[in-house]
């Protein structure tokens, strides 16, 4: 593995740490009824989409560097499931972010809604972490 590949893999891992820990922190803060939950949520959304873009490109970089068995193998099937779950996270997160944007525009607070969406985001991202562990270690 070259230095570039190691750097790409490290950035990929750090990106996932930012996504998961951010979602958990926002979810935890929302449980304590913060003063301006939409501002807190919007801050995370900026981080989320930036980190997601980095995750995708470094994920493809990882795949290109390490290669991977075809779709008929156990690894290939788990990888396909991971891609589908990631797509689900991306689509769901788009809806979540746009809901945050609309809530801010309308100056409408919806702590319960936000708490549910960030809880679901954190849970799905943790599932992606588990799938990544299976891919890395079998």
């Amino acid at each position: 593995m070259t230095g570039v590949h190691l750097a790409v893999r490290t950035v990929h891992l750090l990106g996932m740490v930012a996504l998961v820990s951010g979602a958990v922190v926002v979810w935890g803060a929302l449980r304590r009824e913060p003063g301006d939950p939409e501002a807190l949520a919007a801050g995370y959304e900026w981080l989320f989409w930036g980190a997601l873009g980095v995750m995708v490109v470094t994920g493809v970089g990882n795949l290109g560097a390490l290669g991977g068995p075809g779709p008929g193998t156990h690894w290939g099937r788990v990888f396909a499931v991971k891609l589908v779950v990631v797509l689900g996270v991306v689509v769901g997160s788009f809806v979540r972010t746009m809901a945050v944007v609309k809530l801010r525009e309308r100056e409408q607070a919806a702590t319960a809604l936000l708490r549910r969406t960030y809880g679901a985001t954190a849970a799905l991202l943790l599932f992606v972490v588990v799938l990544a562990e299976v891919l890395a270690h079998g």
Binding site: W46, V60, G67, S93, T97, V101, R104, R115
Partner: protein
């Protein structure tokens, strides 16, 4: 306090527009990347494709596409398009897709020409052939970009509707007396805007 609320409101407004642009651009680039990867993997073609693409080149190409999409979305969302008619949003989204396609391909052609010229100055690519390749590639990229922009605009529109419904449902829950969901204007009877 009124002044600080006004400043905060203005700041929030600017942030909201930028967050929409940032989200739409990254979402579209991500979906545009992930769907072909998934289909390529299921078709057993992914390893062959990625083998021919260096890591550094892949990073640069993705960053270039991301930046182009960000600028195109910023243009597409100008003049309150997101709050206007669906037709206008889809139209501008499709045109933005075509523009991204053309500039992306022309950038790659120009980049390839520069690399060829620098690494092998004794055997440069003929300018006439380069212009021909660039024109054909730009034409194809325009059509493909238009189609991708159309599809992604429709997907964006559908998901925006879902977000609208989610927020509306949240408001309805509020009307039914859920205390954890309220509106700021109701919570503060004397808004100082």
């Amino acid at each position: 306090m009124g002044r600080s609320r006004s400043l905060a409101s203005a700041s929030a407004s600017v942030t909201t527009v930028s967050l929409e642009t940032w989200t739409l651009a990254t979402f579209n680039v991500t979906v545009f990347s992930l769907v072909p990867i998934l289909l390529g993997h299921l078709g057993g073609l992914l390893s062959d494709v990625l083998d021919g693409l260096g890591t550094t080149v892949g990073l640069v190409v993705f960053a270039y596409l991301w930046m182009l999409t960000l600028y195109a979305i910023r243009w597409a969302l100008a003049d309150g398009v997101l709050d206007g008619s669906s037709y206008r949003l889809v139209l501008r989204g499709s045109v933005a897709g075509a523009l991204v396609g053309i500039t992306f391909v022309l950038g790659l052609v120009a980049g390839g020409f520069l690399v060829q010229t620098v690494t092998n100055p004794a055997d440069p690519f003929p300018i006439g052939a380069l212009l021909l390749v660039g024109a054909i590639a730009a034409g194809v990229a325009c059509v493909v970009g238009l189609a991708v922009g159309l599809v992604l605009s429709l997907v964006n529109l559908g998901l925006l509707r879902v977000a609208d419904a989610l927020v509306a449902h949240s408001s309805a829950t509020d009307a039914d007396g859920d205390t954890s969901t309220d509106t700021r204007s109701d919570a503060d009877p004397t808004p100082d805007r």
